[in-house]
Amino acid sequence: MRDGTAATAIQPSGGVLKGTANGLVNFFAGLTILFALWWLAIYLATLDPAASHWAAFGPIPAFKSLGKMWESGLIANALWTSGYRLGIGLLIAIAIGVPIGIVMGRSKRFRDLSNSPFQLMRMISPLSWEPIAVIMFAGWDPAIIFLIAIASVWPVIFSTAAGLAKVDPAWFKVARNLGAKPWHIVTQIILPAITFDVLTGIRLAVGVAWIVLVPAEFLGVTSGFGYTIEDARESLEYDHLMAMILVIGAVGYVIDASLLMLIKRFSWHKQ
């Protein structure tokens, strides 16, 4: 280069494969420790013959019934119904949250005005809306979707607004200078610039929504993860109960990890 300064060329990193291998080892080692502790806790608890009914809560019965529950379609059914409620609730939160976030990021007046009501509403536990949701909606499904949406909309709004704040106004000038039309500004500049932050908001939203989903399904409905747990408790099938808790953890983990991958894919911020 003629420039006196040399650029840092991107070098193929030889550590990538090794890093993945280490990651996998840690992943399984961590889970093994968790399950070992779980087994140990149940083992110690059931040393006392009076507490022998706790044995059903152990990891081995849980894993055994996991297979049975999968075969009977119980897990698939819960996955489908809970996933539907979560998905629709999140979609509503994104559809409402992203535009509000964009307005919030663009208009200082709106930002100043909306700050106090939004912060106040954000701090209301989503589950406390449940009685209102039940009165508002005829069915249980819409009520649960409403709870998910109202829980998830806040992180989406605030992350979108934060993303927009990072958009350099000079980008608009450069784009206009190179012949960009208004829709180019939105599709080529604003959206790619804030995708990272919107996804980060969605990841936070999924975290909250996942927490809200199970207790919301304890009441009224006859399907989904919450119902299945509650049903297992009432019919004293504790191995089912623990298997379902495992599934909830695993599914939540997979959703979160997928979002994290998406976020990394769309991240353009250099550390």
């Binding site: 003629r2 420039d3 650029a7 991107i10 980008w171």
Partner: protein
């Protein structure tokens, strides 16, 4: 040539002229009459009744202190701001907005950090709806011109400041502009990088035949890059002096002819009645630090 039709996809696959390729002269005759600008209706005008003419293919420098309105003038010529009075005509046609025929390079590269180098360079063609293949060819040509061919796939955040400004230059060149406007585009770079970019921008402009208008507070930059230099000063700003920079290319800073031209320009700057002694002193210091 598709110089005039950069905003529409080409009928035949065309590209920027290569080395040793006969280039038809592009560029534009610029005619600015009675131009004035004020930020608010009551405020003092930034400048008024400004007259400026530039011939096809000319490299023009406008020198002045910060705040004399030279940057505003450049934004207006680029069509990014509207003048409050007067008119700008390119080849007899009034300028009424931004266009890919006249492209501006800013003080900072303002690259899009989520795009690779090649995507940044091709963004203007993408706005214009060019097909992928023709776009890729044009981008490759532009990257060759700025000597960044090896960096097409690099993330722009991994480039040095000088390289980033070269990407911004390629992003402008890819539009095959008739006029390239430069708003102190190298002021943030170190002296060596600045010198190489000054030399390269001038030689590319001369080779391809497009006009340059360079706004700068660096007298050396004007001497090294321009065919003609205007000194702008006062409030409201006006052009107080005009200078032909008749020097052979390539221009070297230590060349005696360049040195004496620089001294004459500096004298002219001092002579400009509106400029206070301290302002001229400041200019002098900046120019000296530019050499070091």
């Amino acid at each position: 040539m598709l110089a005039r039709a950069a905003a529409t996809p080409p009928a035949v696959g065309s590209s920027l002229p290569r080395e040793n390729h006969t280039v038809s002269i592009r560029g534009v005759n610029i005619n600015i009459q009675g131009l004035g600008y004020r930020y608010s209706t009551r405020g003092k005008p930034t400048f008024s009744n400004l007259r400026l003419e530039s011939q096809r293919g000319e490299a023009l420098a406008i020198i002045g202190r910060s705040g004399c309105g030279k940057s505003t003038l450049l934004h207006i010529i680029a069509g990014l701001n509207r003048p409050t009075e007067g008119s700008i005509q390119f080849d007899g046609k009034t300028v009424d907005g931004p266009s890919s025929r006249w492209v501006m390079m800013f003080q900072a590269p303002h690259l899009f950090p989520w795009m690779k180098v090649s995507q940044n360079v091709g963004i203007g063609l993408r706005f214009a709806g060019w097909p992928e293949k023709e776009k890729a060819e044009r981008v490759a040509e532009a990257l060759r011109l700025v000597e960044l061919s090896d960096y097409a796939e690099t993330n722009v955040q991994d480039l040095s400041g000088g390289q980033q400004q070269r990407v911004a230059l390629a992003r402008s060149l890819v539009m095959e502009p008739e006029l390239l406007l430069l708003d102190e585009p190298f002021s943030a770079l170190d002296a060596f990088t600045r010198a190489s970019l000054q030399r390269d921008v001038r030689s590319i402009a001369k080779r391809l035949g497009f006009n340059l208008i360079i706004v700068t507070h660096d007298i050396d930059e004007a001497v090294l890059m321009a065919d003609r230099a205007l000194i702008m000063a006062g409030a409201p700003g006006k052009i107080v002096h005009e200078f032909q920079v008749d020097l052979a290319d390539p221009r070297q800073r230590q060349d005696p002819a360049v040195q004496s031209m620089r001294a004459r320009l500096m004298d002219a700057f001092h002579a400009a009645a509106q400029i206070s002694g301290s302002a001229a002193q400041e200019m002098e210091e900046e120019a000296i630090s530019g050499i070091a």
